[in-house]
């Protein structure tokens, strides 16, 4: 289907913008809001041009209050709309954690399906672009630890567009985290028009036999880079883009590890309690028989992400650190 369409080369923010535009056009229940989302079109321009096109009833600025934004969105979703709320940076989800932990994922359950929350919460996350303190946080593990929500982190413009449209169609709450580093950092061919991609499927983005690198969002390109370097030395690494963290596509991960026998899990959040720990646990549960070396995690250090200083590249995993881990699993 998708292959037959025309494509253009655009970046990830433009892909998000297109998806939002198409969703607003297609479904009159879709409303878009958050801080600086309306008039300004978002601090990263994800909603650029959408308020003039759809009016300020459907695309609007809210007061500066994340708990308010998420609570308001939950209410609107319960009452029949399809809100897409933006939290300006994922590190500013924290004031909304009460709404998220107490209600977002529980409403269907606690009303036995009488009220549901078809809500998408988008937030830019992650580092690599020298942002100030707390603007580079990767809080996905916290979100994955909430019952009843789905969590998606795309790694390319094409995936972002199709997955965001799927998220907006989804009957349950979805967190959609967009890597700030990829917003303008990658440009790729993106199909025109409306299309959806399946939620809950991981993808093999590079085939290899020596070891499996498992990543999502901004870390996928880091793993691809590492795989290119390794290939020059004759080591073929498989790279998997998890894409949907919840629900996790464990079979695709297990299948790859069954082939390679070695796994390196890469994420930029701090290591302890990070989502990579969940991936490692699933592999320990379901792929232990195939493993020829312990699973290794490459992650941020157990410390706050350092703000825009010269040292952020020492916090955020890079190809060098991934390759060190590869060496570790290969020489075990």
């Amino acid at each position: 289907m998708i292959a037959e369409r025309g494509t253009r080369i655009i970046n990830l923010v433009q892909a998000v913008n297109e998806a939002l535009d198409l969703a607003l056009e297609r479904d009159p229940r879709v409303v878009l809001f958050g801080e600086d989302v309306g008039k300004m079109g978002g601090v990263f321009r994800a909603s650029d041009g959408l308020q003039p096109k759809y009016g300020d009833k459907r695309v609007f600025d809210t007061p500066l209050a994340e708990s308010g934004i998420v609570g308001f969105a939950i209410g609107m979703a319960m009452a029949g709309l399809r809100p897409v709320a933006e939290i300006q940076f994922a590190g500013f989800l924290y004031p909304a954690l009460d709404q998220i932990l107490s209600h977002l994922g529980r409403m269907r359950h606690r009303t036995r399906g009488r009220f549901t929350i078809p809500l998408v919460i988008r937030a830019p996350y992650g580092g690599g672009v020298k942002t100030p303190e707390q603007h580079a946080d990767s809080p996905e593990a916290i979100l994955c630890h909430v019952p009843g929500v789905k969590v998606i982190i795309p790694s390319s413009p094409e995936r972002a567009k199709g997955l965001l449209l799927s998220a907006i169609e989804d009957p349950d709450p979805v967190f959609f985290l967009e890597a700030i580093k990829l917003y303008r950092g990658v440009k790729a061919e993106v199909p025109e028009g409306y299309y959806t991609l399946p939620i809950g499927k991981a993808r093999v983005v590079r085939e290899g036999s020596a070891a499996t690198l498992i990543a999502y969002g901004g870390m996928v390109e880091v793993c691809q880079k590492a795989a290119e370097v390794a290939a020059r030395e004759g080591v073929e690494l498989e790279v998997i883009d998890v894409e949907t963290l919840v629900p996790l596509d464990t079979p695709t991960l297990v299948e790859s590890v069954a082939k390679t026998g070695r796994a390196v899990v890469v994420y930029e959040a701090m290591r302890t309690g990070g989502f990579g720990a969940e991936i490692a646990a699933r592999l320990a549960e379901e792929a232990l028989d195939y493993l020829e070396a312990p699973i290794v995690r490459v992650a941020g250090w157990d410390a706050p992400y350092p703000p825009f200083s010269a040292v952020e590249n020492f916090y955020r995993p890079d190809a060098k650190r991934v390759l060190e881990a590869v060496r570790q699993v290969l020489t075990h």
């Binding site: 300004m40 601090v43 500066l64 209050a65 004031p95 250090w301 157990d302 040292v311």
Partner: protein, 345 residues
């Protein structure tokens, strides 16, 4: 609700000024010092020698007037990212502030004699903390107050409400200063709230609320001094709304052209707090061009020395990422430290 003013738009006194000549001169100097830093910091930012920088141009009086009422080793200051001017006046060394906006850890900790918490980045979290600081000062029998700053946008957060209610219920010796600068990035104050005066919110907490001309140093200083005296007397917190304007972009990364025309900013530039204070001094015969020139030279020399001092600290030190996470370094941080220091993980 009236706005407290002492100076007209040109700086001519509208009524008796309750400050001494020395105070007026010190106040003007503090304003100029802050402005000088802001202008030079923007230049450093453009040269890539600072990170993202939030300028405060036009808001100097609203910050300086409050900081002038505080004593840094006794009182406390909890500023947001916008309040570099308050930090300067409160006694933070300029070199530390340069390092701070360079995101170098060497700039993050205030010297022991300055009770300033590092600039708050998440909006409004400082308000309940400031109430706690103020209450603790009182419980310990200290004759001290805390001052916390927030923007108009920040008043929408739940923490603003919770912090004010706590401060009020416990009669905490706290100055809550809202710099109403017209904008929260792209959202104008009128879209942030329906209430006409942020100071009116004080009624909801049963505490005094005052709106002051935030570009009038004499007015801000006088109002803050009264609020501090009230707090020290055990009578509780005051909400001060300083009416001002963010004439500059939100930060060095912002393009205001996407959400506002500059006519309003131009009008506010005519009410510049520094020009007004100079106008006041000239009117009172306390100032001349010679003094102005000498002050400029002095401030430039001070800034140049501060940059030199800051540059000494600026070799990247990646292992500092995992320092000061705990009082005692734990095994995971130690392993990371060894790795970042060039050894093995």
């Amino acid at each position: 609700m009236d706005t407290v003013r002492y100076l007209d738009d040109d700086g001519k006194p509208l009524r008796d000024i309750p400050l001494s000549e020395e105070e007026l001169l010190a106040g003007y100097r503090a304003l100029r010092r802050a402005r000088h830093f802001d202008e030079r910091a923007l230049v450093l930012q453009r040269q890539g020698r600072l990170g993202v920088y939030p300028p405060f141009r036009g808001q100097e009086a609203a910050q300086v007037g409050v900081a002038l009422c505080l004593e840094p080793s006794r009182d406390w200051l909890l500023p947001s990212y916008r309040e570099t001017a308050a930090a300067i006046t409160f006694g933070m060394p300029l070199s530390k502030l340069i390092l701070s906006w360079r995101a170098d850890p060497a700039g993050w900790g205030a010297p022991p004699e300055v009770n300033m918490v590092q600039f708050y980045i998440p909006i409004a979290t400082q308000v309940p903390q400031a109430a706690g600081v103020a209450h603790a000062l009182r419980l310990q029998g200290k004759d001290a107050v805390a001052a916390v700053f927030i923007g108009d946008g920040g008043t929408s957060e739940g923490d603003f409400h919770e912090g004010l209610n706590f401060a009020s219920v416990f009669d905490a010796p706290l100055l809550v200063v809202v710099q109403n600068n017209g904008w929260a990035i792209s959202v104008p104050t009128q879209k942030q709230m329906k209430v006409q005066r942020i100071a009116l919110k004080a009624q909801g907490y049963g505490i005094p609320g005052v709106t002051v001309d935030g570009n009038d140093l004499v007015a801000v200083w006088t109002v803050a001094r009264k609020a501090a005296a009230r707090a020290r007397a055990g009578e509780g917190p005051t909400l001060i709304e300083a009416l001002t304007y963010r004439v500059a972009p939100h930060t060095s990364s912002d393009d205001p052209g996407r959400y506002r025309t500059e006519d309003e900013a131009e009008a506010w530039k005519k009410r510049d707090p520094i020009d007004r204070m100079r106008g006041c001094l000239l009117h009172l015969g306390l100032w001349d061009e010679e003094k102005e020139r000498a002050l400029s030279e002095e401030l430039e020399a001070e800034f140049v020395a501060a940059v030199e001092e800051a540059d000494k600290a600026s070799e990247p030190r990646p292992w500092e990422i995992v320092e000061q996470v705990y009082a005692e370094m734990q095994p995971d941080q130690q392993a990371a430290w060894n790795y970042l220091h060039g050894g093995e993980a």
